[in-house]
Every structure is written in C-alpha cells, then in structure tokens.
Point group: C2
Chain length 304, copies 2
Amino acid sequence: MDLTGVNIPVADARKQEAITDEQAQYFLDNGFLVVRGVLAGEELALVQREMQRLYEKGAAGVENDPDYMYGTGVKSGQPVLRRIEYVIDKSDPMKALLGHPFILRSVEKLQGRNLIATWDSMVLKAPDEGVIVPWHRDAAVPDGCADPRPIFNVDFYLDEADLKTCLWVIPGSNKWTKAEADARCNQPGFSTDDAIPVPMQPGDVIFHNIEVLHGSPSGDGNPLRRTVYYEFRPGEIEAEFGPHTLEYLSLKQQVLLDCIERRKAAPYAQGETPFLYRPNGAFAVHAARRPEQYRYGHEHYWRR
Amino acid sequence: MDLTGVNIPVADARKQEAITDEQAQYFLDNGFLVVRGVLAGEELALVQREMQRLYEKGAAGVENDPDYMYGTGVKSGQPVLRRIEYVIDKSDPMKALLGHPFILRSVEKLQGRNLIATWDSMVLKAPDEGVIVPWHRDAAVPDGCADPRPIFNVDFYLDEADLKTCLWVIPGSNKWTKAEADARCNQPGFSTDDAIPVPMQPGDVIFHNIEVLHGSPSGDGNPLRRTVYYEFRPGEIEAEFGPHTLEYLSLKQQVLLDCIERRKAAPYAQGETPFLYRPNGAFAVHAARRPEQYRYGHEHYWRR
C-alpha cells in the first residue's frame, strides 16, 4: 500500500486526556490506532525493568508454570520464550499501568462505561529469533453478537520496533467477513501490498481490534522486543456471550478498581487526573473490595 | 369457590426428596403449592425460638433500624411490628434454613440450576391486631421477560394458621393479565368466592408465585403469626432484567454456597442428602468464598 501522503491520525498521550472523536472514528473504521508517549520517564523505566526481570526469568527456563510459554527458535531450534501470561499478578507497576487514565478514558470512549479488563500478557520477540508472524486475527467477536462496540487490545511497546521489524496492519480488515479474512491469511508469504507498517518507540501504544489483520515479517538480527497486551471488552458483550462467566466479570471489576487506586498512590502518577470507573445498570458496583488475587485463571471461568 | 371434592396436590417433605413432577405442574398452573412438614423437631423449635427473639426485640420497639418495619394496629392504633428484613443475617439457624435440601431441590426443579436467593424476611401478624390483607400480587415479573420460569416465595410457617385467619389464594391468577388482576384486587371487601383457604401447621411451607393473587381476612382475636419468606429467582431472568446488578447475583451465590455448607454442619441435618448447588454456563461459580456479609442491602444493588 502506497502510504505517500496518507494522513493517519496519531494520538499523543502527552497532550491529550483521551483519544479524540476523530481518532476514535479512525480506530472504529480501520481497527487500529497509534498513541505516542503513553509511558515515559520514571514509569517507562520501571515497567521496562520489571518486564526485563520477567523476561530474564523466563529466558533462563521456567518449568511447570503454564504462564511462561515457549516456542522454537527459527535459528537455534532451541526453546525460546515467546509469551508470559498474567503480568499484572507478577508485578505491581503493571497493576498501576492497568489504571492508566489516558488508556481507560479512551477505552471507555470506545466501549462504554462497563469496560472489563480481561487478558494481560507480555509477548516477546527473542533476539535474532524473530520468526514471521503470519497475517492473523487475534480472536473472533462472539457468534451472534450484533453489538458494534469493538473488543481490542492495548499494546504497550517497551522496545523500539523499526520499519524492518515492526507490526504491519491491514486497515479496515476488522470489518471483513471471516471468509475474506481467511482468504487473505492463506496467501503465501508475508505480502504487504495492502498493509501499512506501524513503527513504534518505547512507551508508544497501539490499540488494535481483535479482528484486524496484523502480522510481522521475519526479523533477521532483530533485537529483543517486549510488548505488553491488555485486552478490554464491553461488559455487555461479555455478559451476554462470554467467554467468561459473570463471576469473572464481577471479580475483574474489583481488580480494575484496585489498580486505579494503586495508580493514584504511584509517585509518577501524581500529575494525572485519575480515571473514574463508574459502571452502571446491571454492571454497577456498590463498593470496592480488595481483590483476593490478581490472577483469575481464564480456564476456571469459561462458560460450560 | 366450592372446594368439596377438589383434589389439591400437597407435597410432604417428610416423605419426598423434592416436589414431584405433578406437584411442580400444579404449582406452575395455579401459582401455589403446599408442602407439609418441612421444618420439624429440633430445627422447628430452634427457628421458632430465633424468630421469637427477633419478634420480641422488634415488638419492644427498635428505632433507626430500617430492617424493623412497623404498621398501625387496627385495634390499638399503636405502632405494630409487621416485618423484619434480612433474617439470615440476624440468625445462624436461618442461614442453615436457606440450605434446606428439599426446598432447594424443589426450587431447582422449577427454576433451573442457576437459582438465586434474593429476599429473606419475616412477616408478622401481631396478636389481635390482624388487619385484612387485601388481595394483591407481591410483585410483577419484569417487563419484557418471556422466560416462563416462575419467580416465587417460599413461606415457612412458624405458627398455625387456621381456617379463620389463614392465607387465601386464587388458583391460576398468576396467569392473569395485569388488568384482570387489578380488576379483582379493586373489588371491595375480601370476597373469597373464587379463592381457596390454605390452613397451615407450624413447619409447613407454601410456595407462592409472586404474581398469584393472595390475601387474608381480618383476624379478630388472632394469635401471633410469624411467617418467613425466602424469595428465589432464576439467575437468567435476574441477569437480563434485574432488579439487582450482576454483582449482587455473584455475591448471593456465595451466600447460598456458604449456607449449604453451614447446614451440613447442623446437628439436625445429619440425616439429609445435602443440596448440590451447581450453577452452569454464565452462572458457573469457580470456588466458594466466605461471604463478607449476609446482608447485601437491596438498595445498594439496584440497576441504575
């Protein structure tokens, strides 16, 4: 796709309280949106350190813990750490990050007041083992769901992703049918004719719809890339279609409330206007309760 | 209504594990069902003592506690205790009573596995102050609800109600339209032409649909009558229409699980097969958690 002269809206968390209406519309139409400068200074350094700690633990080899997931290195053929689940449980700064007011205000703008935080994971591209990530959708909107509000991930980049190794996105593919998406994903190689690259700096964020097609090319000689994914879903969709139970929804509301309070206490968050979580209707919460845990394992809360 | 020769199914908790299919159908068709001998022996005596304690406390006059509700005595003109809310919170044997396996198995038969316990109250007819309770419905099924499963109260009688003072019911009026019910309720006096009396012994129970028309005549010289009402709702109806939030539903599932465990420990329940609460689908519960309280005030959990 020739992007010469294409004007892609980019939000800037250093200058805005939340994404604008125009940026929200761009996200709804195209399935992704870039936000610059969400993490900076002390918080960025802290989150980088924390995630480096987890990365190094995982890279050294963790056995019998399903939260540390490995693939096979394309060059070494050795087990390579590719993903760590439940990062909020494993690090307090990641709890405070869930309370980020720019992010939550923007999620609220797109999903409504009853937003629910679901997955929290770190995805890793190991140094010099960067394999092609083929074109894919993360997940499908639940069958029968006519609610137009987007389910999406907020991807926090902790390392630079340059034009050679960055994510590519096919704008608007979030609106394609399953057949159209499958046909595109089944094309051989990693063609980028209809796609655009999304180079990122540490602290930048991508909002990406779970149904937008994305992927990345093989990264010969690539450096380590750590990206944290926080997924959000409108409570109304989750309550009606799942995949989690209503119990999960209620428990995760308490986690979110707790993380917002934790952020208020963080030294680096003192200049912010905190996010006010105010779910309503069926989703109203009477009182904050200290969560019993920060790792509500998904498999315990599937609908059966 | 001439009841000569009318054969009304009556369940017997001393001989059955739950209501039969025939009894369930009678309840669905007519809006009420009598169950004999639910409470007996040690448990009946204990529950009577506990509720006498609350009655005497209330009758002595409780101020600034919304759980104790007063009316005006028809004879004395004085404040008369008429209702006490949240009896489960106020008495441990009432927690164990919520776990009663005959009751819960019967509720499950009528409402499905995702039954939710909502209100728990004691209603009082003060000695010699028994006013006419005009024909009424307790509440309406939520607007737009097409789910045919009944919402109903389980009324535990702690005192005798004889033919002179007992509840009267209009069989089948749970299926009437609102206009039909209103017309009947607006008839002057307490006509019983189309109704049947439901005399009760201590320990007997009535299941009554919230939409069945019921009432009772004036009780000149009536003795004290204490009746405990436990209301149950199908979780699916509550989740879609309220009136409570999803948070309430989840909290009350934990209360129910706790009360079932408490009953297992009660000396008088050792001969029973405990009820197994096994909500499923969106209502599945991963693990029992000790409830933080037994009095989740309704007003904190209305949908707004």
